[in-house]
């Protein structure tokens, strides 16, 4: 399978959507009546948070496919999705912290369920790579990692629902179930930003998959050409095909 196929138009579409999103953020979306200019952080913080959580769940779905079929390609897909989602989750924590300092005067509020639950999800997934690295046998590594990805992936929506049901301390609920909500101009800008970051996730996923695929093919070619001259494979957290 070639993951590089269609990568160029996808990357161009991603760049276009992100540029449009940032133009809308700074030239179209109105200033928030309560928070003023600082609220612009919302358009990067919330979409990367949502895409990170969806990425974690996608990792769980690929892991289910891996356990059902035992096809190592699904394990690789799960690994790459989780890998990129961890980077985005880190971005969510840092941008959220900056927004908290500007809005609440504090970098972190331990009483707020939204912040602490997201940190728990991040720390949970931070264990994924060390778990993989700790298992030398590749088949067992893939199986255990898939079980982890499924359980953690199921925890993500449950955790999200629990936080929505919990009483907010100071963190706003982005799309309130009762009253309020965000105005149309802001919502449109948010949707374009969400689409842009969603496309960025897919582009990076395909990019990394293409890179890993090329590495595996090269390794197989080296094995064929070099035979015994091949150095033993280093221990790694990454799956092998």
């Amino acid at each position: 399978m070639t993951y590089g196929k269609g990568l160029r138009p996808l990357a161009a579409l991603t760049a276009l959507t992100l540029t449009a999103a940032f133009a809308l953020v700074f030239f179209f979306a109105p200033l928030d009546a309560d928070q003023g200019f600082v609220q612009k952080i919302f358009y990067v913080h919330v979409p990367i948070g949502i895409v990170a959580l969806v990425g974690f769940m996608a990792g769980g779905v690929f892991a289910i496919q891996h356990l059902r079929t035992r096809d190592p390609r699904h394990d690789l897909r799960s690994y790459v999705a989780i890998h990129i989602a961890i980077v985005l989750a880190l971005g969510t924590l840092v941008t959220g912290s900056i927004w908290a300092k500007a809005s609440w005067g504090s970098w972190w509020v331990w009483q707020e369920p939204m912040l602490v639950s997201f940190l728990i999800v991040f720390l949970l997934y931070a264990c994924y790579t060390p778990l993989r690295f700790s298992i030398e046998d590749k088949e067992r590594q893939a199986r255990y990692a898939s079980v982890f990805a499924i359980v953690a992936g199921a925890f993500v929506p449950l955790n999200f629902a629990a936080v929505r049901m919990a009483e907010a301390y100071i963190h706003p609920r982005t799309f309130a179930t009762t009253g309020g909500g965000i105005p149309g101009d802001m919502f449109l800008t948010f949707l374009v930003a969400l689409a842009g970051i969603g496309l960025l996730f897919v582009t990076l996923w395909k990019y990394e998959m293409a890179s890993k695929n090329a590495t595996f093919k090269l390794r197989a070619l080296r094995r064929t050409l070099a035979g015994d001259e091949l150095a033993p494979a280093r221990r790694s957290a990454a799956p092998t095909l």
């Binding site: 928030d32 200019f37 600082v38 990067v44 941008t95």
Partner: protein
């Protein structure tokens, strides 16, 4: 919640948040570019190995051909 910050105070926070996002993407792409460089180096090495092997096989064939010719004579 604190009252809204004036633009000159809010600006650095907004800039910092967007810079964090761009920096993360840039670091990720830079790491991927480094990996691509490694793939390119490996590919060059394997191409050289394949060419060397092909040259060795051609030389061996030629040597065998000359040996058979000399035996006939």
């Amino acid at each position: 919640m604190l009252p809204a910050l004036p633009l000159d105070e809010a600006g650095p926070y907004v800039a910092a948040a967007y810079l964090v996002f761009f920096a993360l993407v840039l670091i990720y792409v830079a790491i991927m570019a480094a990996k691509l460089g490694r793939i390119e180096r490996d590919l060059t090495e394997l191409t050289e190995l394949a060419e060397r092997r092909e040259a060795d096989e051609t030389a061996a064939d030629q040597h065998e051909h000359e040996r058979v010719g000399a035996t006939r004579e």
